[in-house]
């Protein structure tokens, strides 16, 4: 029986010719990832294992990104625990304030993942690296600990949904609108336990930035992973970022999919997910007057240079609406530097926005932009659950960088076209 792309990568990492959906396997790992919240729990579990050394000092990555620079004493203690562990274990890829970035923006940028890899991360958005043609999935801290010790993890082989993309995106429509549209169709558990495999002529028109954004939010449909076919765009990206030699896996022509979803990219419009689930999507014909108190442009979903460029294009020469706090967070130090050299940071500051050092910060309601009761934010992040950005009675609307920037100008949720044509 034919295998999907994900199943082929898993079979190769389990050392077998064939796997089937539902089968439990033990697979070897190319990378094990953790952050400042999940790693301390993993380190404690690792100590319980009695494994004196990690399986490979080059294949573990720890990124201090959620509450870094340390937001309080407890956060500082957690980072210290990670730092001490990495020093003691001689882990090469440890990223702290000054070198860090939001993990899922950082790893592709630093060339730490390549096509054909199997990656686990103790962070749910580890599925981001599917954009590079890797199998990557979020796990918990115990899995991370065991991965660090033995370089393996157990998986139930997933079945898959094929997402066949055609057409090409219109101006001011991006990967974020595509994935919000898909989650709106599938629902937040529509892909539960399954892979989302992206294919079709339209897929090849998407930039790597759009693909990373789409794969990032596969988890918001419940998926185990989201994965893109490898093409020239992938190979060029991997080469430019110094990634290891890619291993290209293609789905068999007779691979079995549970479902195929066909999506015409040219028909997708700017899309906003309303509180309190990413599936509550609406397009501007259904969105009335919704004033906002805060706009956030950043996160592992939309904190890349391309995201900042589109936001800057809209904010250039315009001012952020009175009484709206606009917070821009480049996702990595490199992006920060690039944005500075391109003059984007100046545009943001001149428009009345705050520019922050890379951090997850407000995305998970950590710090750097917490909402009060009754406040509302439109944000380029990926979750709008109750209390996600602060008070349980605050509201989070998810959107693209273009919509977020347009909303910053008007002070209410607005389409980029409205602002650019005004």
């Amino acid at each position: 029986m034919g295998m999907t792309m994900t199943q082929k990568i898993l079979a190769a990492h389990a050392g077998v010719r064939q796997v089937q959906a539902g089968e439990l396997i033990l697979a070897s790992l190319d990378r094990v990832l953790g952050n400042d919240i999940t790693s301390p729990v993993a380190i404690r579990a690792f100590e319980k294992l009695g494994a004196a050394k990690v399986f490979d000092t080059d294949k573990i990555t720890m990124v201090m990104d959620h509450f870094v620079p340390n937001k309080d004493i407890k956060a500082a203690e957690q980072c210290k625990m990670c730092r001490d562990f990495c020093t003691q274990q001689q882990i090469t890829h440890f990223y702290d304030a000054g070198r860090m970035g939001i993990e899922h923006a950082l790893l592709p940028e630093q060339g730490l993942v390549t096509a054909g890899d199997a990656v686990i991360g103790a962070d749910s958005h580890t599925c981001t690296y599917g954009a590079l043609g890797a199998f990557s999935t979020g796990v918990g801290s115990t899995d991370m600990a065991c991965g660090m010790a033995i370089g393996k993890a157990w998986f139930k082989v997933p079945s898959a949904i094929r997402i066949n993309l055609t057409g090409r995106l219109n101006r001011f429509v991006s990967g974020k609108d595509v994935i919000l549209h898909i989650i709106g169709k599938l629902g937040v558990d529509g892909a539960l336990y399954r892979s989302m495999e992206f294919t079709g002529a339209g897929m090849h028109t998407l930039s790597m930035s759009d693909r990373l954004c789409i794969a990032n939010m596969a988890i918001e449909a419940g998926a185990k992973n989201g994965i893109f076919e490898v093409d020239d765009i992938t190979l060029t990206y991997l080469r430019e970022h110094g990634a290891a030699e890619p291993r290209i896996y293609q789905a068999d022509s007779d691979a079995v999919y549970e479902e195929t979803l066909s999506i015409d990219l040219s028909a997708i419009k700017p899309t906003v997910a309303f509180p309190h689930l990413p599936e509550n999507t609406k397009t501007f014909d259904e969105i009335g007057e919704i004033p906002v108190d805060q706009v956030v442009i950043g996160s592992c979903t939309n904190g890349r240079l391309e995201d900042l460029e589109i936001a800057a294009e809209i904010l250039k020469g315009r001012t952020c609406a009175k009484n709206v706090r606009v917070i821009v967070i480049p996702a990595t130090q490199q992006i920060y530097l690039d944005a500075m050299e391109k003059g984007l940071l100046r545009i943001f500051v001149e428009s009345g926005a705050v520019v922050s050092t890379p951090t997850c910060g407000p995305c998970l309601g950590g710090y750097m932009g917490i909402l009060a009761a009754g406040e509302r934010a439109v944000t380029t992040t990926n979750r709008n659950f109750v209390g996600r950005m602060g008070h349980p009675e605050s509201e989070v609307y998810l959107a693209s960088p273009a919509v977020a920037a347009a909303s910053a100008v008007t002070g209410r949720i607005s389409s980029p076209e409205e602002v650019m044509n005004a």
Partner: protein
């Protein structure tokens, strides 16, 4: 695996942000986490939950982040078992890995009410609502997963050399 307890019931898509809000993730101490368990969904939970209680919920329980703090908080609050129509996958594996008993049973999740007393025998795949008398069947865990649970979680299974 036998459990008996009183039911606390919630709806669909109970996410990890309400199970344990991120503002408390600057610690991983189970007791501290338990004190804030379910806080943004049901502020009275931590004060009301009794050792042995059973959580019952709808679809996609535990969706959202990979924070193991979520099953840790539930376990440390005294909950003995979570029954749901379905679980988000990372939560599912985290619960197994730390040894929090969970069972997927859409029929039971739909029929059991808040405050009911429920008895389960998971080895035989039986759930029994003692209040209404209704009985439900589930599939037993796959052998590999049972091996992890029987050995006291994934770390213990590896420490004992059962998995290598």
């Amino acid at each position: 695996m036998k459990y008996e307890g009183n039911v606390i019931r919630y709806g669909d898509n109970v996410d990890t942000d309400v199970i344990i809000p991120a503002r408390y993730l600057n610690t991983s101490d189970p007791k501290e986490l338990a004190a804030h368990c379910m806080e943004d969904l049901d502020a009275g939970f931590a004060g009301r939950v009794q050792a042995g209680d059973i959580l019952v919920a709808g679809q996609n329980f535990g969706c959202g982040s990979s924070r193991e703090h979520a099953p840790i908080a539930i376990k440390a609050s005294g909950v003995s078992l979570v029954i749901a129509a379905s679980f988000a996958r990372i939560f599912y594996r985290n619960a197994i890995n730390i040894g929090l008993a969970i069972v997927e049973c859409p029929e039971a999740a739909a029929a059991i009410s808040d405050g009911d007393r429920v008895e389960t025998d998971l080895d035989r795949g039986i759930l029994h609502d003692l209040t209404t008398g209704a009985e439900f069947r589930t599939a037993p865990f796959p052998a590999f997963v049972q091996q992890i649970i029987e050995n006291g979680g994934l770390t213990a299974a590896i420490a004992k050399g059962v998995i290598q």
